[in-house]
């Protein structure tokens, strides 16, 4: 798979469906609970009723295979990150999705994470 380099070229064009239509006009959610790196998957005991929105259905189907980050859900579905945040937030609230609690950022935690990142990189590429 090739990706043309330098994706940051900005394109300004009317969307087929503007993002706030997909979110029923909801505004962007508070970032702290659902970041790019929040890991989600389908809930073990989801409600019997399926969500009606096609985009929510897509997210649920995608998440059925295992854990993905919100960034990956956006990448796979082609939906903007802000929209995915809202959909995931809703789906989690409705009990369809399970989100791993984010690790609080603190120096002690960073120290541990850096240690693990270094060990992992060395084990894999060293």
């Amino acid at each position: 798979m090739t990706i043309d380099d330098e994706p940051e070229l900005v394109h300004e064009a009317a969307e087929l469906v503007r993002p706030y239509v997909i979110t029923n006009g909801r505004d962007l959610v508070d970032d702290s609970r659902f970041s790019l790196l929040t890991l989600v998957t389908v809930a073990q005991e989801p409600p019997r009723t399926q969500p009606l929105d096609p985009e929510k259905q897509r997210v649920l189907e995608l998440c059925a295979g295992g854990f993905l980050s919100i960034a990956e859900i956006a990448g796979h579905t082609g939906l903007p990150v802000g929209v995915v945040r809202i959909l995931v937030s809703d789906l989690t609230e409705e009990g369809h999705l399970y989100a791993r609690a984010p690790i609080p950022s603190a120096q002690l935690v960073d120290r541990q994470i850096l240690e693990e990142v270094l060990n992992g990189l060395q084990a894999r590429f060293g």
Partner: protein, 196 residues
């Protein structure tokens, strides 16, 4: 699963993964960020789109050209599972000042940044250096050498970029896994040293 969207097993994270960490791969246009991420990622790199409201958006824009009140910025990212519990995401982040809104989002929770520079176009790295410094993100410099690039001494690069003595500078061939991994390792060691 018959779903269209059900993907290969390799796409999903291991169930045991608890922590997701993030390192930014930053640099100016066409410096090799996407190549670097493609080299390091265990999944085909993905692209996210952030819809930004333009700073200039106002009544005139709304009235005149409704399709132009938002701007889409695309970013490529990749993933590396580093242990049973830990996954590292590498986000390619554009270095232009007009993307500050994206930077606010990207820098939150980032461990650090690898700044890719092209030794022949060092001055193009100034805006991105301003951004990492403005957001207080610790960084290392990876000099992406293309074939036929004349050797610049690290001293020249340090001077041109006005680096602190402790900021690491390494050579990096973004097409080469080993070389790219080494520059990440250098960054992580530097990040560790800052905590001591």
């Amino acid at each position: 699963m018959g779903s269209r969207l059900a993907l290969d097993d390799g796409v999903y994270l291991r169930n045991s993964v608890q922590t997701a960490a993030k390192i930014l791969v930053v640099g100016h246009f066409a410096v090799g960020k996407t190549t670097f991420i493609g080299t390091m990622s265990e999944i085909p790199p993905l692209r996210t789109e952030e819809v930004m409201t333009q700073a200039s958006a106002g009544i005139d824009d709304l009235r005149g050209a409704p399709g132009k009140t938002t701007t889409t910025v695309a970013m490529d990212f990749g993933r590396l599972t580093l242990s049973e519990k830990l996954v590292l995401y590498l986000f390619g982040t554009p270095g232009q000042q007009r993307f500050v809104q994206v930077w606010e989002d990207m820098t939150r929770g980032a461990l650090g940044a690898l700044v890719l520079v092209d030794p022949q176009r060092l001055e193009e790295s100034f805006p991105v250096m301003d951004l990492v410094e403005h957001y207080g993100i610790p960084y290392a410099i990876a000099v992406n050498r293309f074939d036929g690039t004349p050797e610049h001494s690290f001293d020249e690069i340090r001077e041109a970029l006005d680096l602190l003595p402790e900021t690491p500078v390494v050579n990096c061939d973004a097409r080469d896994e080993r070389s790219s991994a080494d520059s990440l390792i250098t960054l992580v060691r530097y990040l560790q040293s800052r905590l001591n």
